[in-house]
């Protein structure tokens, strides 16, 4: 069985602004990171949310709490 979590970063309101999905994840499979390599003294406004599929157990909790509808859990 292959589990995959698709995150639509255009719909996502931002991991520091909302972050509901990250807090309910029992295996802490979500990561957020700036899209480019960071340099000294730099601030990013947009961070990218991703889910490490090899950590995911497919419980679907993140899909339930996402108010923007940006997360889709695909099991199969």
């Amino acid at each position: 069985m292959k589990i995959d979590v698709e995150v639509d970063n255009d719909r996502c309101v931002g991991s520091f602004e909302c972050g509901n999905c990250m807090r309910v994840c029992p295996t802490a499979a979500f990561r957020t990171y700036p899209p480019e390599v960071r340099k000294k003294g730099q601030i990013y406004d947009k961070w990218v949310l991703t889910c490490l599929s090899f950590e995911c157990i497919g419980c679907g909790k993140c899909e339930e709490v996402c108010q923007a509808g940006a997360i889709k859990v695909v099991v199969g």
Partner: protein, 274 residues
Amino acid sequence: MCQWCVEHGGGKKWYLNTKNYITKELFDSKKEIQTAADIIFRDTERLMGIDMKKAFPHLNKPILGKIVGKKVRSTLEKREQGQVVPLEEAKAILNNANMAALMPCVCRQSQLGITEAKYCLCFTYLADYGKEWPDFARGGINYISIEEAKEAVERGAQQGYVIGVYGAPIPFVNGICMCEYPICMILRCRLDYGLDYVLRKAEFVVNHDIDKCTGCGKCVSKCQFGAIILSRTIGKALHNIKKCFGCGACTYVCEQNANSLVPREQVPAVKEEW
């Protein structure tokens, strides 16, 4: 005594040797400390985001895991390594440090999106250097006195977090972390992926006095390493010292004082376990 203490301790434990604390002169003269510091301040991305997706799924596979493991080792060894320390040792480390700052925890930022949780305790020159990384410190840096830092560590220990001292590269002490599984990336590297060089066990191990134990079970819930079980048959807690990391979390909650820490070298069974 672990290998690091023998090499860098000068007769003491490596994290208590005052030579290993980063001053401005040491920071400016050694290129490898600067590189390591830069990597730490941006490792929310490097270590925990994209890089991990490539390497970590393969670590538990039989043949491929060995090859990938070697590569991960060579990169991680230059970056961040640490050792679990009990509360008393953490206070002794802070006595050696000249300044301290509480920073927002890297792991809680990258995995929970929380910037208010300040559990990364940087000290010596690195506390000052953190200012130059505004994105790392988006929750703000609190510059505090050594006494306040000791209180912060004590509070963390009371809440049941594992205290670790980190050096990047070994043996240059750069900070104290208070974290929990599964949020802490370093605990996770050790416990989930078996990267045993990233986090070492403490110089201590638990000594459980079974006569004093009443079987209340408070220590069982505090242990992050699954080393304690509550036996239904005899009605007491049983400590597996092979799994014990010597963090001391079980000693703070025990009302009967049944748990204490003893130096690891005095216990032959776990003398060589790091």
